[in-house]
Symmetry: C2
Subunit: 204 residues, 2 copies
């Protein structure tokens, strides 16, 4: 019997994705569940819903709440958090690189380093120099990976994955999928892992 699997859909600009990226590997390992990392872009998904910016910027009360909520949750999780001086940052390049990392086995450490850069160190993750420095720090071939990340084939692959997200009914990040079952938000990580463990059988 194969190990249970959770698809983890995340975006580097997303605040609640930060919380999940930092804890998902440990949580999944403890639960005996494999993770399939699915970086995607929220921008096109939000555009389809009629939002040309983060809903946290469009709706100020939601935004004010989210920043305080994130501060509390990061503290609870023992994570550093620094309100980024720009929000949302452009996660395109990081997502393209992460797509390579998902195939090659280094997406976890890469994603955690990018998220820390954005939400703990207030660095410009949209800039190739920042992503390159992160790859260097992980002992990965930065120049080569940046070139491959921006190849036509890889650009197309990320676009396809983002379109797939919308087709699957995703409307935010992080999201988790187990079979056809969708779980939205960092708060649902444990439920998604539990669903995967029980084989998705116990539908009510």
């Amino acid at each position: 019997m194969s190990r249970p699997v959770v698809e983890f859909w995340f975006e580097f600009a997303s605040t609640y994705s930060y919380l999940s990226v930092m804890r998902i590997e440990a949580a999944a390992q403890a639960a005996g569940v494999d993770i399939e990392w699915r970086p995607f872009l929220l921008g096109p998904v939000f555009m389809a819903l009629g939002w040309n910016d983060s809903p946290f910027n469009i709706y100020p009360p939601k935004g004010r709440y989210m920043w305080r909520d994130l501060e509390r949750l990061a503290a609870k999780q023992g994570l550093p958090f620094h309100h980024p001086s720009r929000f949302p940052r452009n996660g395109l390049l990081a997502a393209r690189v992460a797509l390579l990392g998902a195939h090659e086995g280094w997406v976890g450490p890469f994603a955690r380093a990018v998220m820390s850069a954005n939400f703990a160190e207030d660095r410009e993750i949209g800039e190739p120099a920042v992503i390159g420095a992160i790859l260097d720090g992980l002992g990965l071939p930065a120049a080569e990976l940046l070139a491959r990340a921006q190849s036509d084939a890889n650009k197309l692959a990320l676009r396809c994955q983002t379109e797939r997200a919308a087709e699957l009914g995703l409307f935010g990040a992080p999201s988790f999928r187990v079979g056809d079952e969708l779980f939205w938000g960092n708060d649902r990580l444990e439920d998604a892992l539990a669903w995967a463990r029980q084989g998705g059988v116990a539908r009510t």
Copy 2:
């Protein structure tokens, strides 16, 4: 030293308020926390955000997800759930009656009965006959309470409470407040109770 208190802001039309209404008294009692019930109306709050309907109706992917999520969470909580044939129902009359109940000590059983009527029994909670039958079933003087609920003073009190919700930065229901600290969503009930217990001191 006085007992810790959580303000519980809820709306009878709100699906996630159903989950919290059904469990908050037991959870608060177990935590040694008092609850102040604050019924309010989401309609005016949503209008101020530019929504003339529930966001679950305006944004179909969010709505489809919410119904499935609610089904899963109700099962997890051991609650009956029947997708209501109308959504959102008009919670105005129930909120006016609940406002009386909050002052007179019977809001808990009343709120649970109204929520069950809406989300388990698919009944029209906007109708005085339905609310009257619920009050009868609780041994409360239905005719008298319906009349008092619709007095000018009580109508104004609910309007005031709804305006206060927006002023406090609420943008959805259920919401919980502990001092100046806001927690949004059924998922945050435990965090709100814990915050109240620690006296709201441990701000990060």
